[in-house]
Subunit: 420 residues, 3 copies
Amino acid sequence: MDSHMPDEGTAYGLPAGTSRSELTLVTAGTPGGEFLRRYWHPVGLASDATERPRPVRILGEDLILFRDGCGRAGLVYPRCVHRGTSLFYGRVEERGIRCCYHGWLFDVEGRCLEQPCEPEAGKKMRDRVRQPWYPVVERYGLIFAYLGPPDRKPLLPRYDLLEELDEGEFLEADDSSIGSGGAVIVPCNWLQHFENVMDPFHVPILHGSFSGPQFVEQMALMPEVSFAATDRGVKCLQVRKLEDGKIFNRVTEAVMPTLRLVASPRVTRYTRASAVGWVLPIDNTSFRIYVVGRVRKPGEMREGTSRYEGKRWSELTAEEHQRLPGDYEAQTGQGSITLHSEEHLASSDRGVALVRRLLKEQIDIVKAGGNPMGISLAADQPPAANQAHGNQEVVRTEAGNYLVDRDADRDAAQSGGPER
Amino acid sequence: MDSHMPDEGTAYGLPAGTSRSELTLVTAGTPGGEFLRRYWHPVGLASDATERPRPVRILGEDLILFRDGCGRAGLVYPRCVHRGTSLFYGRVEERGIRCCYHGWLFDVEGRCLEQPCEPEAGKKMRDRVRQPWYPVVERYGLIFAYLGPPDRKPLLPRYDLLEELDEGEFLEADDSSIGSGGAVIVPCNWLQHFENVMDPFHVPILHGSFSGPQFVEQMALMPEVSFAATDRGVKCLQVRKLEDGKIFNRVTEAVMPTLRLVASPRVTRYTRASAVGWVLPIDNTSFRIYVVGRVRKPGEMREGTSRYEGKRWSELTAEEHQRLPGDYEAQTGQGSITLHSEEHLASSDRGVALVRRLLKEQIDIVKAGGNPMGISLAADQPPAANQAHGNQEVVRTEAGNYLVDRDADRDAAQSGGPER
Amino acid sequence: MDSHMPDEGTAYGLPAGTSRSELTLVTAGTPGGEFLRRYWHPVGLASDATERPRPVRILGEDLILFRDGCGRAGLVYPRCVHRGTSLFYGRVEERGIRCCYHGWLFDVEGRCLEQPCEPEAGKKMRDRVRQPWYPVVERYGLIFAYLGPPDRKPLLPRYDLLEELDEGEFLEADDSSIGSGGAVIVPCNWLQHFENVMDPFHVPILHGSFSGPQFVEQMALMPEVSFAATDRGVKCLQVRKLEDGKIFNRVTEAVMPTLRLVASPRVTRYTRASAVGWVLPIDNTSFRIYVVGRVRKPGEMREGTSRYEGKRWSELTAEEHQRLPGDYEAQTGQGSITLHSEEHLASSDRGVALVRRLLKEQIDIVKAGGNPMGISLAADQPPAANQAHGNQEVVRTEAGNYLVDRDADRDAAQSGGPER
């Protein structure tokens, strides 16, 4: 204060920060939103579709999920096409859902089957209206929906990690946002989470020195890291030299458009990843994660949920959330949508930069009228990636924790690891 | 999903919906707001005006209601004309309300009577300021206010249903929003309720098959319905053929600007309606209902409040509200202001269409500088409607539940019913 | 209602009110905000800066306050300059604060000392980034921050009331908003409070006849009031003739930019004021008050907190807040930002008018590139005010409650009172 030299670098005059909205926004009509709408997204567990209409939000759209008496899942626009009353109050029947106000009945594809207040139950008119709907497919214990242009609807991909089960394994689906480090619904833009998948450097800091070693000891070592493009997204190879001279190779993948292939950071076994996670953008400023994994006993999926000084995230006090931050705090701490104009990316952010560049490319492809990475429009038109593996349907992946004895094995690990 | 034919009718690309704002908005300066401002509206029960200033909201305006020590009700703009402190904190005295900050005293018509911090209590200046106020009239146990242009202030109408009492009857006023099927303040646009009055078709669906028969058995029959314009609004005749060969004629009325004349759907007696309801638009996205009825014992008005599996609305769980929807759920389920662009009106909506058309006509009359339907500007200038009945003051109405033995009586019923 | 003369002065057609935003807005880039940014403002008690990062908001800016292991207080922009995670989750260390996400370490002046995920801890790059920060100074038990242009940073003023202690006195700082009459954070614009300091007329009304005599008996007398400009703001002399023939002279001061010098309205002794209050604009629509006073025993500062029928403000019911309004209710009752266009200032508002005029002048000086009142940019360039008193550092003030025996002493009182 006594200095005659003016202070440098103060916050005075800091310009208002801006976000890269072309990457972050997910609503209909935005570049990112249209890109995301070329893929299937999980909209619930199979058990979420019941005779009780369930409100869901996905890519900024509010919809009603239900299952008719014939067992078919349906996903419809909430406002009844007649007078706009929400089908949340509808009654699910054998053939579809009936609006509470005047009783119009719609099937899972939005066809109007009955208008009970009209002459002859609306025989003349009902075929001229259709309740807006979206196609759904059930697989892996999840319900997937396609919210994009009908003539671009792709096949729902199959993943080797979930198709090829070892003896004794079965699939378990989870909707508790495993991997977010916190609440089921995370109040920030989905990309703040998705790019984190290609950010291995934060692990020894955030999950090491800050929260105490949340994971196993070997994860706290600062790895040697390299990144590479794949035919389905971006992968990261982390090489850690263990004390016994062996080498721990860890491969994680960010797969277009929202998939996270992350082997357990608790490394109970050295092997391929056991789960696929989908980051579901609920809207521009919140997301959740659906995960499907191969397990050997029910409930195994959630066993690895993070602990902080022995407590679950939901049990922490406000003071503990501040003192023991995890992914949830770090990512929501970037704001509801981070301000990219204020960032200073460094060499350790090159994975993040790769993810953003790839997303930007794919978004531009969609803008230009093309089909983005990983899309297969018909069983006889698989994406190049799958053809290369000689299998038209199953997407082959590399994520996992691998142990190798010699340096020479390192390169091999990059294409999947020798222990698969 | 394997089909090569693109899906039809999906929600992809659905345009953003729009509302008919000229009908729905109620705030000052909007077409609908100016139309509504040509009439008196209930602003509280007579007992709401006391020495404790009471905040009220009506047509989007926040006001303070009080009753001075002389018994006069006052309705004033909340911000003191001096420095803007809310008169909510004012003290009510013999002659008016005194602001807490510097003590300016205003009478029920906003005249400034005292400025205690000014020389001679503001003798020189106080006549030059006036606290903005609105005229009020008490009748039927309610306080009515007129928020419109002073030179268009009409007479407060009298209604036959409330002026002509049978032996043993007296009037009871109610502010619990009887008729809304739910909460006292309903969080959606008032028109969603008002047009429902001319929508008899929803009764057997919403109040029949959905919530269980909320009303008497004969109401669950699908009626033969006709609509007609009246000199005060729109009426609806519902004809139901009972099992014993008799005919049940039910007449309901929507009277300009917000009145609902609906005989009890519980039909304890076949006779003229016993109550008048005013739908009060609190603001663009909420309303409440004031009702005055002829009763024979105190508290009789609320006895007919809807039950859902034996419970009151306020006692329902969230799951029960969803499973047992009533008018509240159906109308708020249309959104805070429904999206008219997405509607598909059918033949059973012709009453709704009539109400909207009439409102539009009356709004256009006001826009063009005229006086809308049902306005009488002085005792010697009654509206045509009343003249026709040979009575200058009392509005004659037709609403009620009537029982007739022969088809020939149907026409008679339309003009009031033979049993009056 | 039967009158043929239209009502006058009704609220119909009342234009929407407007605020004088050039005086009220405090955010960066606004005229008032830039004026306020030429001064130091309290941002917390000295004890608020600890190793636990503390979010503070001042002039609409969210910042993080902490104290490093060397005892230096720091005030930084919350978003880490690396990837934007909030330093609220940072860890405070010996040399500064470390971001939880990738571990960048910043000192109290925003210099980046470590980037642990970068080669050589970021040796090459870290000097090229700087975490936005603000200078702070600790004095009187408070932490003051300067949020303005670095080349205009003034000296932090010293005040005689806090520099010259009587025998047995010591300083006590308080953050409970003493003087606001209510909650710690008051949800309205700061100017509604600040101008109240020059509004002695409200005292006998609001604090007299409304809330019951909150202060001593002599304060309830309506005073003879005069105002005058000072070299540091505006002062008010209130003269009350006591029953014993003596004269009670009370001087209050509003000092630029936000200071309130108000002697205790409980008048336990006739003497100079014992405290300085800073009205801190938190943002455009909320403020709090920091006070430092000379006391003789710990906790003495809060002893004079207002009581309402014996209760603390926080203990009042909603009904009691309405019936017993104080400064909090009167000022928040003007709205979040009062509507100046609707005011009708009278002769008793001339102090308020003076404060606004002075603020406007000073704001215009800043707009024109000058330095506003009371600014000393270096120890050898004191503001004129201080020079006049022959002391380059200490601002001399006049506020206090003084007792004089003869009318002749009145004039003397205006320049500080004979009993000092």
